[in-house]
């Protein structure tokens, strides 16, 4: 699936998006896999209460299933307007 990063999450990881092969069943499982990869991922996902997630471009939560999902995005709370 495609995994996208925005704002300081993108800066910490150093990538705007990547394709990830995962067996994780939920967003939280995917986060655990990413955290285990490298320090920059661990830094970006150190505190998931500071993060928001969108699953297939809809705001979701970390318990959400990844079944059939094509795109997951991680970002800080939004600051529009």
């Amino acid at each position: 699936m495609d995994v996208l990063y925005f704002a300081w999450v993108r800066e910490r990881i150093g990538l705007p998006r990547e394709t990830v092969e995962t067996d994780a069943g939920t967003v939280a499982g995917l986060v655990d896999e990413l955290r285990a990869r490298e320090d920059r991922y661990a830094a970006a996902f150190a505190d998931i209460s500071a993060l928001r997630v969108a699953v297939d471009q809809e705001l979701s939560d970390f318990d959400a299933s990844l079944d059939g999902v094509r795109e997951v995005a991680f970002f800080p709370p939004m600051t529009g307007g």
């Binding site: 996208l4 704002a7 471009q57 705001l59 970002f75 709370p77 600051t79 529009g80």
Partner: protein, 147 residues
């Protein structure tokens, strides 16, 4: 309903006039314009706005549709820019048209409250001292409770 997500500047007067044109059943039009403001101790050189292409348009449309379902509105306009803006530039605009002013005012506030913390935009401030992401404010999240 018109949703615009663009890097380009827009003309508030022209947008407001176009939004108002030809309406005969509208008693109230409310417009709100967001402007890049320099308030910090360090002079703001620019504001960089990042967004999530694809999701942004959908999120704004959803917010506008929910406002339309909740209030009696003739029309809704939402314009939001991204990219690099300098103080004094217009970031965004919402407009609502309704038969009565209360619907138009409340719907415009609702749009703004949701847009602040549910539309995927992130602001980064550039000052002489460096750059930093604007943190979401608790008050903005709490503002949603009243709806």
């Amino acid at each position: 309903m018109r949703i615009v997500v663009s890097e380009a500047a827009f003309d508030v007067g022209a947008e407001a006039a176009a939004f108002a044109a030809g309406r005969t059943d509208t008693g109230a039009i409310v417009t709100f314009t967001g402007v890049v403001r320099d308030t910090g101790a360090d002079a703001l050189e620019a504001m960089e706005i990042e967004h999530y292409p694809g999701m942004t348009e959908t999120a704004l449309s959803d917010i506008a549709e929910r406002a339309t379902a909740r209030w009696s509105l003739g029309d809704v306009l939402v314009i939001h820019r991204y990219g690099r803006l300098v103080p004094g530039e217009m970031i965004m605009m919402v407009a609502t048209a309704a038969r009565h002013r209360r619907d138009a005012f409340e719907a415009a506030e609702y749009l703004m409250d949701y847009l602040k913390s549910r539309a995927p935009f992130w602001k980064r401030e550039i000052t002489a001292e460096g750059a930093g992401w604007v943190a979401a404010r608790d008050e903005d999240e709490k503002a949603l409770d009243r709806w």
